[in-house]
Assembly symmetry: C2
Homo-oligomer: 194 residues x 2
């Protein structure tokens, strides 16, 4: 058997990372310490040091746990307006209802100095961009997009606004906003040539 399958290890690890993620989103990266997690969970400090001898590793695991989110398999049956609405709905839900929405600002702040935090963000963004790209590629294959549509730019806009609203401006991502946002992106995508 693999060592990591010992149920005691699993339990300790899960309990610790849940608490770490909590501390991360409520007090910031630097507050995630062996001592703080120990106090929050009842796990003894020495045990936590055994699991994560380097504090950085524990923080990174907390990042990763928060960034892990449900599958983003794109729907590309068309029409574009429908696919777009579905994908943006998924993205909005992830920001609204998973820990990522709360932890992301902390990870972003940590990315200034922490390579692993930056890697977490880049991986996350790459996924989102790829999902939307699939939607646009399928739309183009169906002939819904004219030549020269700035797909990358549209994708960036589609993602930037909800992130900006949620993480930076502190504005809600509700259904009404979502509809008008998707509508604007869609109109931009199907704009006649200049």
């Amino acid at each position: 058997m693999k060592l990591s399958e010992d149920p005691r290890i699993i339990a300790t690890r899960n309990l610790a990372l849940d608490a770490a993620q909590n501390i991360l989103q409520e007090e910031g990266v630097l507050a995630v310490t062996h001592g703080a997690v120990s106090k929050a969970t009842g796990i003894s400090r020495s045990t936590l040091y055994r699991h994560w001898p380097r504090l950085e590793a524990m923080r990174n695991d907390a990042f990763l746990r928060a960034a892990t989110s449900p599958n983003f398999a794109p729907m590309t049956n068309g029409p574009l307006r429908t696919d777009l609405g579905w994908m943006m709905g998924k993205l909005t839900t992830a920001l609204n209802e998973t820990p990522w929405g709360h932890v992301a600002p902390q990870v972003i702040a940590a990315a200034a100095t922490d390579k692993q935090a930056r890697a977490v963000i880049e991986g996350f963004m790459k996924d989102r961009i790829a999902s939307l790209e699939d939607v646009f590629v399928a739309a183009r294959a169906r002939g819904e997009l004219r030549e020269g549509t700035p797909v990358r730019q549209l994708i960036e806009m589609a993602i930037a606004v909800p992130y900006f609203r949620k993480l930076i401006a502190g504005l809600p991502l509700d259904q009404e906003w979502l509809d008008s946002h998707v509508d604007l992106i869609y109109r931009l995508a199907t704009l006649p040539p200049k």
Copy 2:
């Protein structure tokens, strides 16, 4: 004379806040402590405690210093495309060349729990939105905008993308990007009715 005019106080305060701002952007909010600033500046800890008995106040002063930026007086002579380019250029420059571009992620992360950090962000955003609003209002007065143009939504998009690129995605804000971004916003603003 006012106590605060003693040159020793001014000097100590400036030196300390410069260092605090530096630590803020490089190591995060929680790293800004009396001890860290003392070590960075040579100012003795006891002096720093005299200036800011509460650590929170020192951090907030560091936030404010970073968020203070050059005047954003809008240019509203028209045409809209020109005004828009000018304003977005100012916003981009501020993100690229002032401390705000580096400190903002830390302030945003701190805003999760720190009311003053949130106030700093909200004030900053309100300024930016108001500046762009002036541009659109002037354009409407000149008859450049049709009725029903979703100005608030356009402003949000205009601001969201550069913030997203710079703070979240880690992408550059160069001239080429700026031109195509302004172009897209302009086309959206002057879109024919559905």
